[in-house]
């Protein structure tokens, strides 16, 4: 068994009302920032999976992402493989994801 560290990024699906994103966007004027639009706020879950190989680990993460971390009616997710499998924060990974 080996350890594999992943991140799951969850965001509202396109077209789904995102009041948080709208509120953040509304605050940008107070910062004197212009030209920013389509702000969407989601969440990120990082986790370490013990599995025989990376494919098996990936399958576990996909199941969790689809059943628990996101609600498929309103949210979409993508999975990133993070560098460093020791449970430490894997910084930003390489963005290769799946």
């Amino acid at each position: 068994m080996s350890s594999f560290r992943f991140a799951v990024n969850v965001a509202p699906k396109p077209g789904i009302l995102d009041p948080q994103g709208r509120a953040v966007e509304g605050s940008l004027g107070h910062l004197g920032v212009e030209g920013v639009s389509a702000v969407r706020v989601g969440r990120r879950v990082e986790l370490t999976v013990e599995a025989a190989d990376e494919t098996a680990a990936q399958q576990v993460v996909e199941r969790l992402a689809g059943e628990l971390f996101s609600n498929p009616l309103i949210e979409a997710f993508d999975i990133e493989r993070l560098d460093g499998a020791d449970g430490a924060d894997g910084a930003d990974g390489d963005g290769a994801g799946q």
Partner: protein, 256 residues
Amino acid sequence: MTRIGVVVFPGSNCDRDTLAGLELAGAEAVPLWHEQGSLDGCAAVVLPGGFAYGDYLRAGVIARFSPVMRSVSAFAAEGGLVLGICNGFQVLAEAGLVPGALLRNRGLRFLGRDVRIVAERLDTPFTSLVGSRRTLQMPIAHGEGCYFADDATLDQLERDGQVLFRYVHADGTQAGVEGDPANPNGSLRAIAGVLNARGNVAGLMPHPERAADRLLGSDDGLPILRSLVAAASRAEQGTAAGAATSQQVALTAASR
């Protein structure tokens, strides 16, 4: 007396009010702990309001995977009566036991105040004693009550009579969607409560148990609880055919 269970999750905070409301409505109301697998022979189950598991991740999602919810899902699949109120509605939606999802309120704020709703169906186990399409006043208390489903699903719900409650103005006309205080959270098509396709599982955001006695400012919620108790009593009679007590017969007669 018909026994109705009220599930208690860590973070439920309307369980006692719901137990009291069900007793006012004529039931023997019992708490069901979230870690138990058995429903203790209850003829109906209510998922109460609160913040189950702190609403972490998404309101209702962690509660969905609790042991008691496996039993509730199996009970619902057999036609058992299940009502979710507020956070309980969120749990049912996350579990896929009722259609749709509940998003953060359009105005972003947690809202605790009275609203007006109407029952769009008067022939369900949850509304049979409401009597008419009259305006019902009861409180809401939620931050994530904006009902959402895609257009095709909304059309199907309307066509199949699965829209159970809607937010309305004082005169009973349907509330708007955006910028209308009568629709407190911006729910699509002003939907405050829905039924599953089979008609035995319902969820609503307003709190009938907080409007179950005049002392609370309104008893408009009581007919909803009484409808559930009467329907549960009928269901019990169905499973114990011939063993009905005279009291149950009277309740059944009263509900027609």
